[in-house]
């Protein structure tokens, strides 16, 4: 198993596809069931889309992680975009500032097991989210 990180630069909608394909491949390599690999790929797609929609460009980093007696996959989505001024609001269903469905973040949180977001207005946003193998 590769223990390095996989980094995907997100600059366009084409990169969204690349990121989720690499995520699915890594999830499969770690041994996730196919249904969980689909959840992970969907989460990556939403996070990468947020980068393209709100920050124009950023980066998705994928890595295998080890917890106590368990293995998982971490997604780090980071950008130097405008940031989010009201994070709790952005985590509520139905909220959006870009005219999209606004389901990105709360949806991603439901798809994954752990979810952390740090955002500074004017500096950018970083989301770290993990899924553990059942």
């Amino acid at each position: 198993m590769s223990d390095g990180e996989i980094q995907v630069a997100i600059n366009s909608d084409q990169d969204i596809i690349l990121a989720r394909q690499k995520g699915r491949a890594l999830a499969t390599e770690i041994g996730f069931a196919s249904s969980d690999a689909t959840l992970i790929a969907t989460a990556i797609s939403e996070l990468a889309r947020n980068i393209v929609s709100y920050a124009t460009k950023g980066q998705i980093t994928l890595k295998a992680v080890n917890g106590a007696n368990r293995q998982g996959l971490a997604i780090v989505a980071s950008d130097q975009g405008p940031g989010i001024s009201d994070v709790p609001q952005a985590l509520r269903d139905g909220f959006s500032t870009s005219g999209s469905l606004g389901m990105g973040l709360p949806g991603v949180r439901r798809l994954m097991d752990e979810f952390e977001i740090t955002s500074q207005p004017g500096r950018g946003t970083t989301v770290v989210t993990k899924k553990w193998k059942q």
């Binding site: 909608d13 596809i17 989720r20 249904s35 689909t38 969907t42 939403e46 990105g104 439901r110």
Partner: protein, 120 residues
């Protein structure tokens, strides 16, 4: 990758080949609406069997396609959503509200033919 659109009688069939970019989806939307007008189609089937991920953008585009085509007086049915993709969509909170779905191409054609009969 562009989505091929086949004409089969009164029905247009668009089959997703693989992962589609946002640009591909937008192209499909305008292409389908244009073809429905051109061929005076009464039904559209969008086959998403090959789709690996249905995220918020893809599902919004499919909903838009169905609603635009309905405004033309034709019916759209989405077929072939894989069980795993459906599971992820529910977790993500995505619904294809107001859009007909069917198991596969065959069921989709049956659905449209029944619709056509009630339209007479």
């Amino acid at each position: 990758m562009e989505v091929p659109i086949l004409k089969q009688g009164d029905v247009l069939i668009a089959t997703f080949q693989a992962a589609l970019s946002d640009a591909d989806l937008n192209q499909l939307r305008s292409g389908l609406v244009r073809q429905v007008v051109r061929f005076r189609s009464r039904g559209v089937i969008v086959d998403v069997t090959a789709m690996d991920v249905m995220d918020s953008f893809a599902s919004r585009t499919l909903r838009e396609i169905a609603h635009m085509i309905r405004l033309r007086g034709a019916e759209t049915v989405i077929v072939g959503i894989q069980p795993e993709v459906a599971f992820a969509m529910v977790q993500l909170g995505l619904t294809l509200e107001g859009v007909a779905t069917a198991l596969d191409l065959e069921e989709g054609l049956i659905y449209l033919n029944e619709k056509f009969e009630t339209m007479h």
